[in-house]
Amino acid sequence: MKEEINVRMYEGLFLLDNAQASLEWDNVVKHIHDILQKNGAEILKSEKWGEKKLAYKINGHKRGTYLLIHFHAKHSAITTIKRDFQLSDCIIRSLIVKDDKIEELSQVVPAEGGAEKTIDKLPEPVEKDLQAADASSKTADTV
């Protein structure tokens, strides 16, 4: 019973080095998935947001590629996951947030093919976000 409570749904957003991401995208994604799976996380969904201009320079990087991953993990594993991401070279920044809203959705949907259905129901329309973000970054440039 305790283990069930400890396992939660998390959402991770990763900002990746553009040079490495454009050359060997599959390897970079595999590297991130390996880190998560090594710490006992179960990946439900992983999607590329695409290349974007950053709002400010980070260690000389002006552009970066975003990767959004939803995963199940024990809360005790999160600290080690975060440390591993900090140590890896291709990741510029990472943010891991608890996501209870999607967990509720996955509980409502029956177990068979549950992951796919939750993917359909995800609230954020990513492409629209990206377009809007590009537009906002352009406006930011003009300002």
Partner: protein, 73 residues
């Protein structure tokens, strides 16, 4: 007894849209809640209720960390 007047529409934009928690990836709404310098609008200026203003505050700070929004422009 005086008659009580009710505002039918809520002032808070997120209450009107029926959004429970503001998402830090929501790049359509979040820039509208910051000044041209990148500062947060006050609750008085944005018209948000307490719950959503708190949620906006948290999500803007997350978006800034991930370089989706600027700290200062």
């Amino acid at each position: 007894m005086t008659k009580r007047r009710f505002n039918k529409t809520s002032k808070c934009r997120f209450c009107r849209m029926g959004i429970d928690e503001v998402d830090y990836k929501d790049s359509q709404n979040l820039p509208k809640l910051t000044t041209s310098q990148g500062k947060l609008f006050s609750r008085k200026r944005s018209g948000n209720c307490a719950h959503h203003q708190h949620s906006v505050k948290v999500s803007i700070k997350r978006a800034r960390f991930m370089a989706l929004l600027p700290y200062v422009t």
